[in-house]
């Protein structure tokens, strides 16, 4: 039970990361390789706001959100926008990695290398469910991720902005002809991904401790989750994230600890080979391939 909840909690963090990666992917069809660094940035800024400026938790998170939104928009402006057609120019892979190195090392220079204890939600209170000791924080991880996921899904399905996102994700130029400001929509998606990154930062930091390299092993698993579920798809992000978290928690106890991180990459590679579109991209779930390039 404890393992199960633990896997579920980790899985929801992966899902949140996959969700934010999907937000960016849906409008630009690029994978934001810088996402993990932005999560780290949120954790670090909120930690330092609390520790040095003695701000309350909520205010610290708010600051992190604001900084993250600004940072993500800056990343779009500096690393992505000028590259032009992103499907043909894959320079974004390089620039986004470059940005991620800059953020990581700047954080290392300014915040130091020492991992810092980050406060749990509810002060780390433990509850007993079915004979297992479960931290309330873990349950909140699951709940908050689900709420964020649902909120995003509502935003996409029911609002004007959501319609714009869906239009832009299909074709930038056509959306622009329909009076949608494609660039602004993309910028917004980056900003929104920044918000989600801030939330995931606050949720994960108590577990990993806040440090410049807190995302070194988790960061890539967000991508793995996004791919396993199917890129740019809310349900897919959650299916991918949670199944990855559970697989890790359940298999993790049977193999040497030093290989534990390898599981998720192994699963990811297998999924890419056999289901290139992810679980939800499998033929069973899709109806035709209307988005394919015309020849």
């Amino acid at each position: 039970m404890q393992q199960f909840i633990f896997g579920l909690a980790n899985g929801s963090i992966y899902a949140l990361m996959a969700l934010a990666i999907g937000m960016v992917f849906s409008t630009t069809s690029i994978i934001n390789f810088c996402h993990a660094s932005v999560i780290m940035l949120a954790a670090m800024t909120s930690y330092w706001s609390m520790a040095y400026f003695h701000l309350p938790y909520a205010a610290a998170i708010l600051i992190a959100v604001v900084i993250n939104v600004a940072m993500n928009m800056a990343i779009y402006k500096t690393c992505v926008e000028k590259l032009g057609a992103l499907s043909t120019n894959i320079g974004w892979i390089v620039t986004l990695f470059g940005a991620s190195i800059i953020i990581d090392n700047a954080a290392r220079m300014y915040f130091g290398t020492e991992p810092q204890a980050y406060p749990y939600l509810f002060n780390g209170r433990i509850v007993h469910i079915l004979g297992a000791n479960i931290m309330l924080h873990e349950i909140m991880m699951i709940v908050i991720s689900l709420v964020v996921g649902l909120a995003y899904q509502l935003l996409i399905q029911k609002t004007r902005f959501g319609r714009a996102v869906r239009a832009v994700s299909y074709r930038h130029d056509t959306a622009r002809l329909m009076g949608i400001k494609s660039d602004v929509t993309v910028l917004f998606c980056f900003g929104l991904a920044g918000v989600v990154a801030a939330i995931s930062g606050a949720l994960i930091a108590p577990v990993t401790f806040a440090s410049y390299n807190m995302m070194s092993s988790i960061g890539l698993k967000g991508f793995a989750a996004a791919l396993i579920g199917g890129l740019g798809n809310t349900q897919g992000a959650f299916i991918g994230g949670i199944s990855l978290g559970l697989i890790e928690a359940l298999i993790g106890s049977y193999i040497p600890a030093s290989y534990k991180d390898a599981i998720s990459f192994f699963v990811m590679i297998i999924v890419i080979i056999f289901l290139p579109g992810g679980i939800l991209g499998a033929k069973f779930f899709t109806k035709g391939d209307s988005g394919k390039e015309k020849i």
Partner: protein
């Protein structure tokens, strides 16, 4: 090597002297370095040479094949560890150890590249990161073999039992580096290099040229991995101590930086890039964080400001130096010479292509519905119909881009239903595309020559050693390509980028490429869309000539006057169904066609 009949342009001669001079000076400098400089510099340069080998390997995959991956450190590390273990634990000689390193690296590259059969781009980057992490965990975790995080000490570098001095090591690495650079040059300046670049620029067209691009990705990655493994093995023996930390993600980024700075997809890019990326951080030794930040900044800025890297930017200025030595500056002929065409049979009664009950459904929509059609050998057969009638879909099914839902396609009496496009080309089908698909990273002449790839009979080894046969075949295909270019009026633009041509010229260039494949049947999808009146007239003449040479043509076109003039037979499609077929005058007189095609009972053109 250059034949006397092949004259180089004056500009080329001037610059090539200049560049050859510069490179020779550089070579001389590195040759005498061990006698002139202290041990620190010898070590520094030996390491730089190792990085050049590594960057050269990475450049083949990333620059020439267009596969940006992040597993460079893993391939390099695997090569280093495998050779170190073979040499130290099993006491094998150095050469065998290097071989082990190369093999191990190739093995790991398969793990990265086999997913690349199905996916590309971003997915490949992710797979490679995954592999990098897995390899690193194995390096740390498998303590029995690798010594874990403590590190691994390697036996002294010996060749035939003789220990090498520092200068000896330096020269050994220098020699290997020169070989690797030669390998890269010969690979790139051959059919293989062109195939890789074609795949990078436009994989569908590459497939249409007969390049099995999923397989070629694996090949490209293998070449790249072999060099990375070799670099790793050299590094291991040179340094004498390995630690898993040296092969982490930051090292991968260093490799990436070398190629991005120098210029990915250029021959000397890895050399220049490795030099810059190795020297630059020396200024930041005091602060490793700042060093990393500078790396990051360079990656962000250079990718956007100098997309071609240092070398790519220089190359743009000196287009003339990239002249191909096989191109003959003197005009040989101004007319197509189809004398060397080998068309199997010219009997007009035989059908070259037969289609039976061909159907394609997209979900609920039936784009092509039970189409029956036969194309007689040596004729121009036009497929016409209103927009959305299913013409391009039909052609895509014939050329293997889409699989038919139902029905049969037979070419020369052989069933080719559902064949992949790269299987069709060798059988004699080539095509042009409705929306121009050229290889924009290659010069105009290379765009044509790449079509000649099937006429080659020399092997990969022949290409790498530039055998006499290889050079003869290369010259023949470049000369043929030059002829095609002259006929379409682009003889002067052979070294331009295809993107600089007008849309009409681009369409003609596509035709030249398709002809260079020497097909039995040519499929032209709206070749005259966007062409001017004169260009259309020119095109019409060309088609007549091609037909005279015995090549069958399947033509989709909207210019009715052109279609009526040059077609032998016309098939009319509407809503995916055949509504009429026959000689042009029969079709033109057909009331059903008039109604469907023109909407009114009016004269056709």
């Amino acid at each position: 090597m250059r034949n006397s009949s092949l004259k180089a342009t004056p500009a080329k001669r001037k610059y090539s002297t200049l560049f050859t001079g510069a490179w020779s000076l550089l070579l001389l400098a590195v040759m005498i370095l061990p006698h002139a400089a202290g041990n620190y510099y010898i070590r520094f340069f030996a390491l730089l040479f190792v990085y050049v080998i590594l960057a050269t390997g990475y450049n083949i995959a990333a620059g020439y094949c267009g596969m940006t991956t992040f597993s460079a450190a893993a391939l390099y590390g695997a090569g280093a560890y495998a050779s170190a273990i073979a040499i130290t634990r099993y006491g094998l000689p150095f050469g065998v150890g290097v071989l082990c390193g190369i093999l191990m690296s190739c093995l790991i590259s398969l793990v990265v590249s086999i997913p690349a059969i199905k996916v590309k781009g971003d997915y490949l980057a992710l797979v490679s990161i995954g592999v990098l992490e897995i390899v690193q965990q194995i390096m740390v975790g498998w303590q029995g073999a690798t010594g874990g995080s403590v590190g691994f000490n390697i036996k002294k570098w010996q060749i035939f039992g003789l220990p090498l001095s520092l200068a000896g090591k330096y020269y050994a690495i220098l020699a290997v580096m020169m070989l690797c650079l030669l390998f890269q040059r010969n690979l790139v300046k051959s059919r293989w290099g062109r195939d890789f670049m074609a795949m990078r620029d436009n994989e569908i067209t590459a497939g249409g040229l007969g390049i099995n691009y999923p397989l070629y990705r694996v090949y490209g990655f293998l070449f790249s991995a072999a060099l990375s493994g070799l670099a790793g093995a050299m590094y291991a023996s040179f340094i004498g101590y390995l630690s898993p930390d040296s092969f982490g993600f930051s090292f991968t980024l260093f490799v990436l930086l070398m190629v991005v700075v120098g210029g990915s997809g250029t021959l000397s890019g890895p050399v220049i890039g490795a030099a810059i990326a190795t020297v630059l951080p020396e200024f930041f030794n005091a602060s490793p964080d700042l060093k990393q930040i500078v790396y990051g900044l360079l990656l962000v800025v250079l990718t956007q400001v100098l997309p071609g890297g240092v070398v790519g930017t220089i190359k743009k200025r000196f287009r003339a130096i990239d002249d191909n030595s096989f191109v003959n500056a003197d005009s040989r002929k101004d007319e197509f010479d189809f004398g060397d065409y080998k068309v199997v049979s010219t009997s007009e009664t035989q059908d070259i292509l037969t289609i039976g009950g061909l159907t394609k459904c997209y979900g609920g929509l039936t784009a092509v519905n039970a189409l029956d059609m036969a194309i007689k050998r040596g004729t121009v057969h036009s497929l016409i119909g209103p927009n959305g009638a299913g013409k391009t879909t039909t052609v895509n099914m014939i050329t293997g881009i889409e699989r038919p839902t139902e029905g049969r396609v037979a070419f020369n009496g052989r069933d080719i239903t559902g064949s992949r496009m790269w299987d069709l080309m060798p059988r004699g089908v080539s095509r042009t595309y409705q929306h121009v698909r050229l290889f924009n990273g290659m010069s105009v002449i290379d765009n044509v020559v790449v079509g000649a790839r099937l006429s080659y009979s020399h092997s990969l080894v022949g290409a790498l050693f530039r055998s006499g046969k290889m050079r003869r075949e290369e010259r023949e295909s470049y000369e043929a390509a030059m002829d095609y270019l002259r006929v379409i009026g682009l003889g002067e633009k052979l070294n331009d980028a295809p993107g600089n041509l007008s849309s009409g010229q681009q369409k003609l260039l596509e035709l030249a490429r398709a002809l260079c494949m020497k097909p039995e049947m040519l499929v032209l999808d709206e070749p005259c869309a966007g062409l001017t009146e004169t260009e259309t007239a020119q095109f019409s003449d060309l088609i007549a000539k091609i037909r005279k040479a015995g090549i069958s043509i399947l033509l989709i076109e909207h210019h009715m006057s052109l279609v009526m003039e040059i077609s032998d037979y016309i098939t009319v499609l509407d809503y995916g169904k055949k509504i009429a077929e026959g000689r042009p005058d029969e079709v033109a007189a057909n009331p059903v066609v008039r109604k469907a095609y023109l909407g009114v009972d009016d004269e056709v053109c």
